[in-house]
């Protein structure tokens, strides 16, 4: 019985064709010694039965994978009478690479020009007749999916059994051709099962399978060692020559419409444009921030706030009605609702902001943003890839810093870690929100955007500084592959959003609650002191540090206490302010204690100063060094302080 083999690139339609030919006459087994699936089937043509073997899909017949080795071994040693090479007509040049290799092996090839239906729709025209002449191979157009041309393919295949073929000999250029001749000489009179010229080429291609086979021969082994010693690496040249050969052979035979742009290409042309990419990114972010305010604050924010107020009022009156301890009432209404409640109010805003960010990420836009930022980032010595850790940092700096693990290079990684806290995390959002509500209610989106942008700018400046001073070293270069756009999966977007809210609530109930409780106790002591006053323990601590911040415009003790609370967790800043100013409305209280300018300098300070304890701990863990953790804590504090002072002092000149 004659054996026919089926080979082709993955996705060329090989399986579809195999099924179309064999129908249910097939069985699956394994190739001996490997885990690769072996599919075999039968078909009858003109009352004669033939075996059809489906070889694993492969782009090349090197030794890069088990699949490739199985496929080529069968072609060379399984003695198939005909090898049907399925090629995707819509991507013919790429597919011909495999064909060329089959021809070099001396296989009796019949080409199935598959997906011809799709090629026609795409207006790709292939001069089948002349291509067949140039390649010296029969070609049959097929559409396996529509079962077109399958009979013709079988007819031509059967007709070609026993056709006399000699291996294709491509000229690889003078040097390589000479080497090939020399190796063929060495291989003479030695009984390897493979064709000599093919083996010679494989040896020069550094094919590990063939090299280990011939290394048993000392003469050849010596020759190969010499090649390596003389730095004669021909692998790429050989592959290049094959592509050149394909180019020559297909010249004038393939007509295809110039660059058919996919939807992704079309969108990318605009979004990743060299000039417009960055402004578009900025615009999208401004819109996101503005929408966040519109939906999260104006629309949803009120409900949560009223709800919390309602609960607070209810519990307070309940406590009063049962004559509860005065301290307890104070703790519940000022500490818990004034402090933790002040943070909870921001849940809707956070939900909305991260909802939009999740959509940007899931659609594939964030990857484009990274692509656009890449040129800029390279200039400051950062990698485009670090942008991932920066985007993650916008959620929380802890995973942001952890995600720098994807950077292989130590220098890139250290810089990415050290600048990550300037990516304003979700916990800092409530701070900006209260100050915006108090001072810039009409420009929320713009102010928020400016803060985030300032964070990125500072990150870039520091990155440049670090790469010029602390971490010099070689840069790694790479190319990026962008994912195709897709519709966001609402399922995952909503799940993520829920997790976000849950995480936020959990923190409010634990860390923030703890910090607020401690500060509440400190503001009640020593016994008998006016609560939340300057004379309380907390007030005295705050007053000690406060003068330091006078040049930055926020020299009141409440501001400095809350900054220190913020080192425990950033949400605690708002929690602390809320408690210290309660029962007054926080926005009102801020307007009384801050000026517009000092509100700005305070926000700058919050953006830049020492990251939260969890982040510092992460730096220590990831760098495995106390020194870097300390460095992180100190340099950011100084930077934040200097910037806040600069903002306030320079601003004062104008206002």
């Amino acid at each position: 019985m004659h054996t026919i083999a089926l080979v082709g690139n993955p996705n060329s339609g090989k399986t579809t064709l195999f099924n179309a030919i064999t129908g249910s006459n097939q069985h699956v087994g394994n190739w001996p010694g490997v885990t690769v699936e072996k599919k075999e089937g039968f078909f009858t043509y003109n009352k004669e039965k033939y075996t059809l073997v489906d070889l694993p899909g492969a782009y090349t017949l090197g030794a890069f994978s088990e699949d490739e080795i199985v496929a080529r071994d069968f072609v060379l040693k399984g003695n198939p009478d005909v090898v049907i090479n399925v090629i995707d007509a819509t991507n013919i040049k790429r597919n011909l690479y495999l064909t060329i290799q089959l021809l070099e092996m001396g296989a009796n090839v019949v080409l199935a020009l598959n997906m011809i239906d799709e090629a026609n729709t795409k207006k790709i025209n292939i001069d089948k007749k002349r291509l067949s002449e140039r390649l010296n191979v029969p070609i049959v157009e097929t559409s396996a999916a529509k079962k077109i041309g399958v009979d013709e393919l079988l007819k031509v295949t059967v007709e070609n059994i026993g056709r006399n073929v000699s291996p294709l000999e491509i000229s690889y250029g003078k040097d390589i051709d000479e080497e090939i001749t020399k190796i063929i000489k060495l291989l003479e009179n030695k009984d390897f099962l493979y064709p000599k010229r093919w083996m010679a080429i494989k040896i020069l291609e550094n094919d590990r399978d063939i090299i280990s086979l011939v290394s048993s021969d000392s003469e050849i082994k010596e020759y190969i060692d010499n090649l390596i010693k003389e730095n004669k690496i021909y692998e790429l040249d050989i592959v290049d020559k094959r592509y050149d050969y394909i180019k020559t052979i297909t010249k004038d035979l393939i007509e295809e419409p110039e660059n058919v742009l996919t939807t992704t290409d079309k969108i990318d042309k605009i979004l990743t444009n060299y000039i417009f990419g960055l402004p578009i990114f900025a615009l999208i972010m401004i819109i996101v921030f503005q929408l966040t305010f519109k939906i999260g604050q104006d629309f949803l924010g009120g409900y949560v706030e009223s709800f919390i107020e309602f609960i607070a009022g209810f519990i307070e009156s309940l406590l009063i009605s049962i004559n509860a301890n005065e301290l307890l009432i104070s703790f519940i209404s000022e500490g818990f609702f004034g402090g933790v409640g002040a943070v909870l109010v921001f849940v809707p805003l956070i939900v909305v902001l991260y909802f939009f960010l999740a959509i940007l990420e899931d659609t594939g836009y964030m990857a484009r943003a990274a692509y656009v930022m890449d040129s800029l980032m390279r200039k400051v010595g950062l990698q485009g890839k670090s942008f991932i850790s920066m985007i993650v940092g916008f959620g929380c700096n802890v995973p942001g810093i952890m995600s720098t693990r994807t950077l292989d290079n130590k220098k890139d990684r250290m810089i990415a870690i050290l600048i990550n806290p300037f990516m304003s995390c979700g916990a800092r959002l409530p701070v900006y929100m209260v100050f915006i509500a108090a001072f810039f209610p009409r420009y929320g989106g713009l102010v928020l955007f400016s803060i985030y942008a300032l964070g990125i700018a500072i990150a870039f400046i520091m990155a440049k500084l670090f790469s010029k001073t602390l971490f010099k070293g070689e840069e790694t270069h790479f190319i990026m592959e962008l994912p195709p756009y897709r519709l966001p999966s609402m399922n995952s977007v909503f799940r993520d959003m829920w997790e976000k809210v849950w995480g936020f609530l959990k923190r409010a109930g634990t860390v923030i609650f703890l910090v607020v409780t401690i500060l509440w106790v400190l503001s009640m002591l020593p016994a008998g002191v006016e609560p939340y006053s300057k004379e309380s323990l907390l007030g005295r601590i705050g007053s000690f540090f406060a003068p330091m911040f006078t040049p930055a415009g926020f020299g009141n003790w409440q501001a400095s206490v809350s900054l220190f609370a913020g080192i425990a967790a950033k949400e605690a800043i708002v929690g602390t302010l809320g408690m210290l100013y309660s029962p007054m409305d926080l926005t009102e209280a801020l307007r009384m204690n801050f000026s517009t300018l000092s509100a700005v300098s305070y926000m700058v300070m919050v953006l830049l100063y020492t990251p939260c304890a969890a982040t510092i701990a992460t730096v220590k863990r990831e760098t495995n060094s106390n020194g870097w953790a300390l460095f992180m804590a100190v340099y950011t504090f100084l930077l934040g302080y200097i910037m806040a002072v600069l903002v306030y002092q320079i601003g004062s000149l104008f206002i």
């Binding site: 090349t60 890069f64 592509y243 990274a370 692509y371 890839k385 990026m480 969890a614």
Partner: protein, 86 residues
């Protein structure tokens, strides 16, 4: 062309197959093909492992985790070695 692709990437003057296609004056499809070839031959390697927050960190916002992200490829040791020998 493969050599040229490899060189361009190592110089850092290209960041996508589109750029390579422009610089070498070839079609994007060809550029893609060359890059695929280089990957397959281990001259280029995929960078880093995928990062996943996996809910391990407190306050981590999964929606900010790269869910539909880009991949990057840089020269493997083999690729670097090859260019050095050139």
């Amino acid at each position: 062309m493969l050599k040229e692709c490899l060189k361009l990437i190592s110089e850092g003057s290209v960041k996508s197959t589109k750029d390579i296609a422009n610089k070498l004056n070839i079609s994007e499809m060809e550029a893609n093909q060359f890059i695929e070839q280089l990957k397959q031959m281990d001259y280029l390697k995929k960078d880093g492992s995928e990062f996943s927050c996996g809910g391990k960190c407190f306050g981590c916002n999964l929606s900010n985790c790269p869910t539909n992200s880009f991949m990057t490829f840089s020269l493997s040791e083999k690729g670097k070695f090859y260019l050095k020998k050139l």
